[in-house]
């Protein structure tokens, strides 16, 4: 045994992921659902689903939360580790692939590259300002073509002559896709071109100037898309490892971080049935007009955030 039994939750913009791992890092339960702009509801569903899979008898002794709603859900679950997505993804990948040198990660709204040397993060980059080439873009384009996002990969892998799609910006990519479709390119070729555009965009923005060394691990929701995986393999002329749990690695990383933290917490699955709510208000203390969110479990105030100074913490 190296750590505690641990719950890890990754609350992203598009999807929410949850895992329970034992002290050796083995997956005991896993869940994946759409966030749909309701992180509290999504996290509750995840916890309920994990509880059902475990069927009682497993005592969770630590909780780690990552993702863009980590502060909120960390408060709700009483987490003992609340970590940024970059560290969580690195720790998750290292738990499965100790020798990894490069982690490619593409999620719903953000993408990152993490470089590892000797099991230690030595460099990273994250997309700034623009969500071009992330999962949300892929699914919106699939929807426009009347396809489910799961069908992109099959279509792309069938393609014979991938259409050339501008990679710089989603607005240009979309107009290229429309233009090429009207010019008579098949949906398969369009989808393959789209996957290549996502990869080209990633490599020229997030991956700019980074030395991508093997072994390379690809994770995040988009790693489930075989078309993008193949486009990466072609662009990098290297083997790309995609774990069967590649979409869960942020949650795994959060769980590992919590499991190894100095102090644990006793976690109660009841939290999924407990009423909780948030209130938002504007602080009138000064012209900053901070937007303050307060989180309540029942009537009890758990935490609040958003204030720049102590005036807003009352």
């Amino acid at each position: 045994m190296t750590g505690r039994t641990s719950l890890g939750v990754d609350v992203g913009s598009v999807s929410t992921k949850g895992v329970v791992i034992d002290g050796d890092g083995n997956l005991l339960a896993e869940a994946y659902i759409a966030t749909q702009a309701d992180p509290i509801g999504a996290a509750k569903q995840i916890v309920a689903s994990l509880e059902k899979q475990l069927g009682g008898g497993v005592k969770v002794e630590s909780v780690g939360v990552t993702g863009s709603a980590r502060r909120l859900i960390g408060a709700m679950l009483g987490a003992n580790a609340v970590k940024n997505e970059i560290t969580a993804h690195a720790v998750g990948a290292l738990a499965r692939h100790p020798g990894v040198r490069t982690i490619l990660e593409i999620g719903g709204q953000d993408s990152k590259i993490i470089l590892i040397k000797g099991g230690v993060v030595v460099d990273y980059a994250m997309n700034t300002l623009c969500a071009a080439g992330t999962g949300a873009f892929l699914s919106s384009q699939a929807a426009r073509m009347g396809m489910r996002v799961e069908e992109i990969a099959q279509a792309a892998l069938r393609a014979r002559h991938p259409a050339k799609i501008a990679a710089r910006c989603t607005v240009f990519a979309e107009s290229d896709l429309v233009h090429k479709a009207q010019a008579g390119h098949s949906k398969d070729d369009l989808m393959a071109g789209l996957c290549q555009a996502v990869v080209a965009n990633y490599l020229s923005n997030v991956g700019k100037g980074k030395q991508i060394r093997p072994p390379i691990v690809f994770q995040g929701g988009v790693s489930k898309n075989g078309g993008v995986v193949r486009a990466f393999e072609e662009a990098l002329s290297a083997e790309i490892h995609v774990d069967s749990d590649s979409h869960l690695m942020g949650a795994v990383g959060a769980a590992v971080l919590a499991s190894k933290a100095q102090t644990g917490v006793s976690f109660d699955f009841q939290v999924s049935r407990r009423p909780c709510r948030t209130t938002a208000r504007e602080c009138a203390g000064c012209a900053n007009r901070c937007e303050i969110v307060t989180f309540f479990a029942g009537q009890l105030k758990i935490d609040s955030w958003g204030a720049k100074c102590e005036k807003g913490s009352a």
């Binding site: 940024n84 970059i86 230690v120 993060v121 030595v122 000064c286 007009r289």
Partner: protein, 353 residues
């Protein structure tokens, strides 16, 4: 006759120095610092500034508008080094177009030279003899040096103090003295007593703490509101923060020639403003074994953009992580915090390995 009310933009805590300086130069005028920078300041500045101008321009315009609302009618501006030197004229025009009535004393570019500055001061109504002007300037410079020294110490140590409240109290008391000082001798005593008070603070500092150097564009470095208080976030993570940038450094501590020489060949020509300083300082931090460097700039800052490739090469060759962050009027505070937190995790892991 309408009473003259003097104001100027904020930057860090230097308003305390300007307050005293202008009170001495214009004994019959009222000196009124603009209200502290808030989100409203930035919104006002952003709304009335060209979209792609750098963030300091927008902050300055916001400060001017709030100062004019509070009754100011004589505004000061200065700037050299980059397009900042051309800001004054444009800002004056923007404020006039908004319908404000004021005088604008612009000590930028060639007008920052002593003879020209003296002319501007006279035109603005300063009737002091030259030796009194010199004495007021000397006191201001002394205050700047004292303030820079104290804040330099604070950045390096506040993360390790058992109580940061005491440090903040000493700092506040010192700023109060800066606003009140009448003579150089008084200021020197204030600096000395501040120094002693700080040195008496109990620190819980490990032998080899994590150390981060901060380099980049001057305004973003010196105005914490404009960089989401990143230095405070680093300190609260138990990190010793080093930053050479300050007004004293700008006035007396820098030279392009020396920075090029100390830049290890990563840059061969000056790239404007403090671009070469960023490179030379980064190399110095790398050689002194610092754990990481933050390179901060406002979005659209050309000199620091120019320094970017040199810094990337330096990071690779010297093996020191450099995180570059750009700031504008958007409130991406969570994004900035995420990147900084990951950076801190990374340098901590590297140090532990």
């Amino acid at each position: 006759m309408l009473k003259t009310v003097i104001s100027y933009p904020h930057m860090g805590n230097y308003a305390a120095v300007f307050e005293r300086l202008f009170a001495q130069l214009f004994p019959r005028a009222e000196v009124r610092s603009p209200p502290p920078i808030t989100q409203r300041t930035l919104e006002l500045g952003g709304r009335h500034s060209p979209d792609f101008v750098c963030a300091p321009f927008k902050y300055n315009v916001g400060n001017y508008i709030e100062a004019l609302e509070a009754g100011a009618n004589l505004l000061f501006q200065t700037g050299t080094g980059c397009r900042y030197g051309h800001y004054g004229e444009l800002q004056e025009q923007i404020l006039r177009d908004l319908g404000y009535d004021f005088r604008f004393a612009c000590l930028s570019r060639e007008n920052s030279r002593p003879s020209a500055a003296l002319r501007t001061l006279h035109a603005a109504g300063c009737q002091l003899p030259a030796h009194k002007i010199a004495a007021a300037l000397y006191l201001a410079l002394l205050s700047i040096r004292g303030l820079d020294e104290m804040e330099f110490w604070m950045r390096e140590n506040i993360g390790f103090a058992q109580s940061s409240d005491r440090i903040m109290a000493i700092h506040r008391a010192f700023l109060h003295k800066v606003r009140q000082a009448d003579s150089a001798a008084q200021m020197m005593r204030a600096i000395e007593s501040g120094r002693c008070a700080m040195q008496a603070i109990k620190l819980d500092k490990p032998e080899h703490p994590l150390r981060v150097g901060v380099v980049g564009e001057l305004y973003t470095l010196m105005e914490p509101f404009s960089n989401f208080n990143l230095e405070r976030q680093l300190a609260s993570d138990g990190i010793s923060v080093s930053r050479a940038m300050g007004i004293w450094f700008l006035l007396f501590g820098r030279s392009d020639a020396r920075s090029l020489q100390e830049g290890g060949g990563y840059l061969r020509y000056p790239v404007g403003a403090n671009g070469v300083d960023s490179v030379a300082q980064s190399l110095s931090y790398a050689r002194r074994g610092y754990d990481g460097i933050l390179h901060l700039k406002s979005f659209g800052c050309i000199p620091e953009l120019n320094a970017g490739p040199a810094l990337r090469a330096l990071s690779k060759r010297e093996g020191i992580p450099i995180l570059q962050m750009s700031f504008d009027t958007h409130s991406g505070e969570v994004g900035a915090a995420t990147r900084l937190e990951a950076f801190v995790d990374m340098i901590r892991m590297r140090k532990g390995a």
